[in-house]
Amino acid sequence: MVIVEFLGPIGKSPIEIEADTLLDVSVKLKEDATLVHWLEKCAVAVNDTMVNDLTMALKDGDRISILPPVCGG
């Protein structure tokens, strides 16, 4: 199981899902119609490191952060 958390304005509680790679996470999250428009513009971190590779292998307990568009300052 991995944990997926939705940051900032997404306003959704963390979920636990089965996933061996980020591709599995993508497939799962796209089942939720309220998330689809967010995914297009969200970046992703795994255990607080930004990631760019969908084939990245995940291990049990990994924490995946979904990061919507930012505006600090």
Binding site: L7, G8, P9, L22, V25, S26, L29, K30, V36, L39, E40, K41, C42, A43, V44, A45, D48, T49, M50, V51, N52, L54, S65, I66, L67, P68, P69, V70, C71, G72, G73
Partner: protein, 144 residues
């Protein structure tokens, strides 16, 4: 890196940073102070911050600044910040004027584009995500 759950005490931060570097033989100190403008009938802005990634972002900037012989500092508010008060200060100290002027520009622009901070308008007591002013972080769309 300093985070506050209220508007920034700009004078205190400016002065303390000045004192912290009193012995570092810098030639130029350039702070950037970001203040909430009264516009579109907002009462305040409000901020969420994801602290672990912000710290990571800032640590990388400290390394980059050090390579240039410079020092960077930043402070930001979490939660509500009323109009005409300040939510953000960043600063560069450098021996060299050109390095300082270029670095503060890059540092502030990268902050706007990549610091994991989410902004909301507070209007009629409601907290509304400032989507139109927000920028997707680099690597966005990976899961789409």
């Amino acid at each position: 890196m300093e985070l506050y759950d209220k508007p920034l005490d700009v004078k205190e931060i400016f002065s303390r940073w000045l004192d912290e570097e009193a012995e570092s033989n810098y030639g130029a100190y350039i702070p950037f102070v970001g203040t909430i403008r009264a516009e579109d009938g907002i009462e305040a802005l409000s901020f969420d911050i994801y602290e672990p990634l912000l710290k990571d972002w800032f640590d990388k900037w400290q390394v980059r600044a050090k390579e240039l012989g410079a020092i960077v500092k930043m402070a930001h508010s979490i939660g509500d910040v009323p109009v005409h008060t300040s939510s953000y200060i960043s600063a560069v100290f450098s021996p060299k004027r050109r390095v300082a002027l270029e670095l503060i520009d890059e540092f502030v622009e990268d902050f706007k584009a990549n610091a994991p901070i989410w902004k909301y308008d507070i209007k009629d007591g409601k907290r509304i995500y400032a989507e139109d002013r927000s920028t997707p972080m680099s690597g966005s769309g990976l899961l789409a």
